[in-house]
């Protein structure tokens, strides 16, 4: 099935008669991508479910103001990323967790989750990703799993392409080292 173009969604959304139809098309096109993006950041399914709904409610409320100087999906990704980071920061404050122990909490959530059925290698990779600082984790996920271009990630995170390349390189090297140092041969 051919995916609907962003331009068509925006055009339909600008007309009050086809607004709901446009939003349903947008949901169909992006809900899974955005869910997985959030899920990989917050780990827990219930948290991801809340955040993906919040994200799309914000999209609905602000889509009218959306200017086409950026791409629609990078704009939605940016909203989802901000929602997730705000959530993680609130969680840190609420639990009074030091920065270096956040990954430990997320790792516990990953192990305890009933919605993770990855094998030993997948679990190890997720643990390796969780050992990264928040920004490197974000960049790694968007590049590795979503296969976004550096220019797109730059638009989402507001970071220069050069800095993103450096961060991704460091993140990959850390993950490589993590995998090498564990009992699984890399």
């Amino acid at each position: 099935m051919k995916q609907v173009e962003d331009a068509d969604i925006l055009e339909k959304f600008s007309d009050s008669k086809t607004r709901n139809e446009a939003f349903n098309l947008l949901l169909k096109k992006y809900q899974q991508k955005i869910y997985w993006h959030i899920r990989r950041l917050v780990i827990d399914h219930d948290d991801a479910d809340d955040l993906v709904q919040e994200t799309f409610i914000k999209v609905w409320n602000n889509l009218e103001k959306f200017r086409s100087d950026s791409q629609l999906y990078t704009w939605i990704y940016r909203i989802a990323t901000n929602e997730s980071i705000t959530f993680l920061n609130k969680q840190k404050q609420r639990n009074n967790t030091p920065l270096d122990e956040v990954s430990g909490e997320l790792e516990q959530s990953l192990v305890a989750s009933s919605y993770f059925n990855g094998d030993k290698l997948q679990l190890k990779l997720q643990k390796a990703i969780l050992s990264l600082p928040e920004k490197q984790r974000l960049i790694f996920n968007m590049k590795y799993f979503d296969d976004l271009k550096y220019e797109e990630i730059a638009e989402i995170t507001g970071t220069s392409v050069g800095a993103l390349k450096a961060s991704f390189h460091i993140a990959v090297k850390k993950i490589e080292t993590f995998m090498l140092n564990e009992d699984i041969t890399f």
Binding site: Q32, W36, F168
Partner: protein, 187 residues
């Protein structure tokens, strides 16, 4: 000679120093052909190739699926949940932003200050009011017996006089018993 540390790919290992050397030659060779590259392109190229090889190897080693799952038919219901939430009447959250909170507080202060000012000046000045209320007040005075009004005025005058007498006695006592120096030091 530095090589990438990948055991399964040992035969295809990459000599980084050779690659860097090659990239330098490439930069020189393109300069005469009219082709150009972004500034600093070759500086990061080896790093970028190195990173991409690591990523490709990681993707071969670990299945691309991240291992996370969702409840059955989750995505079928997600769209409905979102559209239901959107169709609900939006709840107006007061003081959602810090600016609005302080603006509201400022408005309360201004209203309270204006109220105090209004009532404090209102006691001293007669504010032109409702003509019907004035007529009603006059009618009440007209209905009261003249003698009652006179008695009331006399009683008030006496009370004022008493207060004035008491004040004068106190003033005289202070002047008689305290010198100017004493008063200055007390004040």
């Amino acid at each position: 000679m530095r090589t990438l540390p990948f055991k399964p790919f040992a035969l295809r290992c990459i000599n980084i120093s050779e690659m860097e050397e090659h990239s330098e030659h490439s930069e020189r060779s393109v300069s005469g052909t009219g082709f150009t590259v972004p500034s600093g392109y070759f500086d990061g190229l080896s790093h970028e190739i190195n990173t991409r090889i690591s990523v490709e190897r990681l993707k071969v080693l670990v299945p691309q699926d991240s291992g996370f799952t969702v409840p059955d038919a989750y995505f079928d219901h997600l769209e409905t949940s979102i559209t239901n939430k959107i169709s609900q009447k939006p709840v107006f959250r007061l003081w959602r932003s810090g600016v609005l909170k302080y603006a509201t507080a400022a408005c309360f202060i201004i209203i309270a200050a204006a109220g105090i000012l209004f009532f404090s000046t209102g006691n001293r000045e007669k504010i032109p009011g409702n003509p019907h209320a004035d007529i009603a007040a006059e009618q009440i005075l007209f209905d009261i017996d003249e003698d009652v009004i006179m008695e009331h005025i006399e009683a008030n005058y006496k009370e004022d006089k008493k207060t004035n007498t008491a004040d004068m006695e106190l003033e005289n006592y202070i002047l008689n018993n305290y010198s100017q120096n004493d008063l200055a030091s007390i004040l």
